[in-house]
Symmetry: C2
């Protein structure tokens, strides 16, 4: 059997060809209107094309196949909508987190902020200029995601359902962002709050949304969609737990952004909250002096890593993620689905937890 | 004949009832998820309900009737999508312009910035917190606009076309915003650039989009839609010219924001560019020392007003707007449309140019 990772990379080749075609067409269209319009689409295109594993559109595509969808070419084209939704959310997320790097390159708000700094030094507010342009860029990617689905050529009643699901996903994501931004400042964040952020911010747009939209376009009914959530929700939560682990224990090279950035942002992950719960006084001090510290150093990060390991928090997080993945796989296994799609979905669930980037 | 202004205010009563119902339902839904989610929807609802003339959804509604649409109740409900699109764009626009006031109240980013200042004084960046929350609020309003259209109960193929038009409108609007933000900093802005900003930023979402989406849901064909643009484009340009005049010559009470704010932002309107073209040295100095001046005073504004009048720029702008409105009305008059809708559209075109707020 071909591994899900291989299937994913073959799918990535396919979608990347279409993404490149789509985005260069869009750049041309925008350039005709104005070079400034062209420039913003170039930023959107660059961010989209310079990285990304395409897991979300792949989940869409294989869910489509798993639910009996036949028109593969049309489905690949429709899957661009899912990738553009990722681009949209990343751009706005990066403004909120004030991140400088994403996918190994400069974020859009940072890139425009530098343009303002160079070109309009004296009279501009480069940070405001940067975030304004990135708001526009994200808004455009959002409209593109809707536009692609609308023009995907599936039956109109299926498209209507798909667009509905996509926008429900966006609203959940925004609630998740709202809670996440708040939780970076609140002192009373509990593990339940963190889980809720995962359920709103990660699960819908990474798993539940793509899987359901794929299923909808294949003609799945309400009952099928509900069952999909039993797979999507635990898997998505496990994915986020793994993401938080990587955010603390991976490298800048693999993350595409500084390995200190989660800590700097003051991200209250399950990993951190769990460690705090059992930490002694000294261990607590180590976490608290580094979490949310804008000048956090690699030494600080290493000290926090040690506490997370010594308190057993890392081990517990890993175990929890594994348990959730098993639960997800069991739920999926019980569904009657077409073989090729189902195999990929099972395989990807397994891969999620083993990935190191 | 009942005046368009009266028809508009009767329509406003109708849509406001539905907007209130819709938004309080949404607040309740969000509150169940988290009080922070509820809070962001409350901000969206407050901004939507505390002002606005509802011109855009009215254009949608009467275009629907003009093109033979019959189901009035359904059309009023669908028109909420157009009002939520206004809310979306205003929220993001206010972040970009860093405006403190909108519709006589505090803007969403400013409101959240104050929350951060009060609650999380020491460790937060209130401005980043404010704009992050407003990005979310705008994104939610955008998703709502799509969601409302999708669930409007019209035939699926009409909804698909309508969603397509809505998102094309959003992309144009974002190009317009991009150009607008740039033009506040560029030294080489020409009248053509200003007109292009109007054509992208104002015309699509205020006129062309609402009119076309209304027509689409009534079953209009491509040819009908094209003709509508002959009405929408000159009318929209006239509207923006009038808006720029009001932005300089109206009062804070009528504008819902400081009457100095366009000047402070450095907005290069046709009014300003035209005045600069014929201004003598002293008049030029007056404009240049006040335009984009963050500390511009009422005395400064009054001096600029005098230059705009003395150079004849105000008069020329007014004449141009009138000419454009006549052109728009003539284009509309030649179309075969149902009486009630057509009368309103003609009447509103006339009203646009006579409004003083």
């Amino acid at each position: 059997m071909v591994s899900a990772k291989t299937v994913l990379s073959l799918y990535k080749e396919k979608i990347d060809i279409e993404l490149r075609k789509y985005l260069s067409r869009k750049i041309k269209e925008a350039d005709k209107i104005s070079p400034y319009a062209g420039e913003v689409i170039e930023h959107v295109a660059d961010l989209t094309l310079r990285g990304g594993k395409r897991i979300r559109p792949a989940l869409f595509y294989y869910s489509f196949l798993a639910h009996g969808g036949k028109d593969r070419k049309r489905a690949v084209l429709a899957s661009l909508a899912i990738e553009m939704s990722e681009t949209y959310l990343l751009i706005h997320d990066d403004i909120m987190d004030d991140d400088e790097l994403r996918r190994g390159g400069v974020t859009i708000h940072e890139s425009y902020s530098r343009i303002a700094d160079e070109k309009f030094k004296t009279k501009s507010n480069p940070r405001l200029f940067g975030s304004s342009m990135a708001i526009n860029a994200g808004d455009i990617a959002c409209a593109m995601s809707n536009e692609i689905l609308v023009n995907s050529g599936f039956k109109a009643d299926l498209i209507v359902k798909a667009i509905n699901e996509l926008n429900k996903t966006y609203i959940k994501e925004c609630y998740g962002q709202t809670l996440d931004v708040y939780s970076q400042l609140r002192d009373d964040v509990e593990p339940d709050d963190v889980i809720l952020v995962h359920e709103l911010k990660t699960v819908p747009y990474t798993f539940d949304g793509p899987l359901k939209i794929g299923a909808i376009l294949a003609g799945a009914n309400e009952k099928d969609l509900k069952k999909l959530s039993d797979f999507a929700v635990p898997l998505g939560t496990a994915f986020q737990i793994q993401d938080d682990i990587l955010g603390m224990f991976s490298s800048e090279e693999k993350l595409g952004k500084p390995v200190t950035s989660d800590l700097k942002e003051g991200k209250k992950t399950l990993l951190i909250l769990d460690a705090l719960k059992v930490a002694d006084k000294k261990q607590k001090e180590i976490i608290e002096s580094n979490l949310g510290n804008k000048n956090v150093s690699l030494t600080g990060l290493r000290a926090v890593r040690r506490v997370v390991e010594e308190t057993g928090s890392l081990e517990r997080s890993k175990k929890l993620a594994e348990k959730l993945v098993s639960k997800a796989m069991k739920a999926l296994d019980s569904l009657k689905l077409e073989k090729e799609g189902k195999e990929f979905l099972l395989g990807i669930a397994d891969y999620m937890i083993k990935r190191d980037y």
